[in-house]
Amino acid sequence: MTHATEPDKSRQGRPAGGPSMAGTVLPLAGLALLALVPLGAPGMQLLVNLALAKGLAVAGVSVLLRAGQVSFGHALYFAVAAYAGAFLMTALPGADLALVLLAGLLGAVVAGVCVGLFVVRYRGIFFGMLNLAFSMIFWSFLEKFYHITGGADGIRLPRPAVLGMDLDRASFELVLFYLTLTLVLGLGWATIRWLASPAGQIFQTLKTNETRLEYLGVSPRRALLWGYLVSAALCGIGGALMGVTQGVVTPEYAWWIRSGEMVFIAVLGGAGSVRGAFVGALIYELVRTYASAYAGDVWQMLLGGFLLVIILFAPRGVIGMIETLAHRGEARK
């Protein structure tokens, strides 16, 4: 029928019949490998956990990139969710982990509806700036209303119970690690499915031809709002997981540099690619941690240089490189 419902071959990279290397086999193999981290490299477990939590948020940003929209304020949902979780733990000490994540998700979605209704009217740079403004308002609020939010020091997010059990840190972190991994698999898959669904295809048409949507009788604003909510929800779950993993939430969660970092990782992994979001987040955290451990105080410079190289020489990001390699491999077969 129209372009809107055609599967986007170039991006999906999925030849008819049978799963592709880059699309399915590699991600599953990667996840399986990550699942071994707590056994094989326990020192990396926390790092991977944080990176994957961040990856969920980045996946949210990537979803918007599919519609050609860049948000420079998605740290807002990350922070709203983390604070929602922390407030819940303060109000109900010993609450369950599932409840904390739900509170985070709910907070992010509610905030997403409120802000989304405003911002979906705009595109491009205005969309980005407006998102930035809202996240900075929230950041100032967190800093300012210090009696409620704990100010710049943030508030503790004590360890929640898991299915009614109080775990010690080691077992809790193990549970959290596998939960994060499951969420990455589940939500990542669901997001990819959603993007491939008619609703998702309509959403992506915003990038190429918005007028055509209107001719079809579809409201572009409503389509963008749905995508915006999906992205806010992903950011929210990422933020709640991050808060629980860290045990503390600070206004820095909403600071504009963190929003920038999310876009940074999205582009690093492969702009608009959900799989790329997680690959990007893992690479980013590894580079940052090891750069700050071994290159002392020039880690920012290394990351900046890394980003420049990616943008200038591999604009499709790491996932783009992987796909190219995989296709080459398949072609050879």
């Binding site: 740079i125 900075m136 876009v263 920012q300 420049l308």
Partner: protein, 301 residues
């Protein structure tokens, strides 16, 4: 609020707005012409300040007159424009004009990260304070409150001169007209023989020099330390976005709004002072997303 306090708040607001405007001017100029929101602008601002401190420290050590601090500010600004602005445009931005907006933004973000570390490697982490220029001008007392001439008179005067100068430059000089033509329609401008690459390079150098000048002018009033650029960039974003991207006169007005809003808040409700710029920004953008003076379709400068 008594009339006296009203006047005091007005003076403080104007002095603050002047500085913010000078920085925002470069940002909005670059955006207006090149459609690039330059995040590294904050770093250029900081480096302008550091360079001024180093140069005037060196001049003082050589026994030169304190008044020389003023020309040295200009020197630092030009150096920032030529030595940093030039290469950034020439080596990086030029390669990505055909790429999506997000990649252009990220390139400047990457430059920002790199320059943040460069500052620390060159100047260390110790805060600098070099107020020779400010002291050279002395103080005035207004309504029983002492102000520095530098902040009360010089900064607003420089801001006003830059505003008028920029208007004149763009509308009444050949280079200015070339810039405007390229802004309106890059292809058409090229087809009549305008070298758009040169125009972009020149614009970026001027914009970067304005960021450096902002830093140079701020340096006698504030501590120069790591992280100062990150704060300034958000504030000037707020000004530029509220005004409408690329709107020079609008940026002046919005800088005034934000400056005055902040200083009145300190008198009336100090707790809200830090919220003012963002509150104004969201209030304006939620009604007029293209900014107070911006138009969403055509770009204008």
């Amino acid at each position: 609020m008594t009339p006296t306090l009203f006047l005091l708040a007005l003076f403080d607001g104007i002095a603050y707005a002047a500085l913010v405007f000078i920085v925002a001017l470069g940002l909005t100029l670059i955006f207006g012409v090149m459609r690039i929101l330059n995040i590294a602008h904050g770093s250029l601002y900081a480096i302008g300040a550091y360079a001024t401190v180093s140069l005037s420290g060196w001049a003082l050590a050589m026994g030169l007159a304190p008044i020389l601090a003023f020309p040295l500010m200009l020197v630092s600004a030009v150096l920032v424009g030529l030595l940093l602005g030039g290469p950034i445009e020439w080596l990086l931005l030029r390669r990505i004009y055909d790429k999506p907006e997000v990649l252009q933004l990220l390139v400047t973000f990457a430059v920002f990260m790199i320059l943040e570390d460069v500052q620390r490697l060159v100047w260390g982490t110790r805060p600098y304070f070099e107020a020779t220029a400010l002291q050279a001008l002395g103080n005035v007392t207004v309504l029983g409150v002492t102000y520095t001439v530098y902040q009360l008179i010089l900064l607003p005067a420089v801001a006003a001169a830059l505003l008028l100068g920029m208007r004149f430059f763009l509308r009444h000089t050949i280079i200015g007209k070339l810039i405007l033509a390229t802004t309106e329609d890059r292809e058409a401008a090229q087809s009549i023989g305008i070298d758009a690459d040169k125009v972009f390079l020149f614009t970026f150098i001027v914009g970067a020099a304005l960021a450096g000048l902002g830093g140079a002018l701020a340096s006698p009033t504030t501590s120069i330390l790591p992280g100062m650029g990150a704060d300034m960039i958000v504030l000037s974003f707020a000004v530029v976005a509220t005004a409408g991207l690329g709107q020079i006169e609008g940026a002046a007005l919005c800088a005034l709004m934000i400056g005055l809003g902040r200083s009145f808040a300190v008198y009336v409700w100090p707790e809200a002072a830090t919220l003012v710029p963002y509150a104004i920004m969201v209030a304006v953008l939620s009604v007029r997303p293209q900014g107070l003076f911006g138009s969403s379709s055509a770009r204008k400068i």
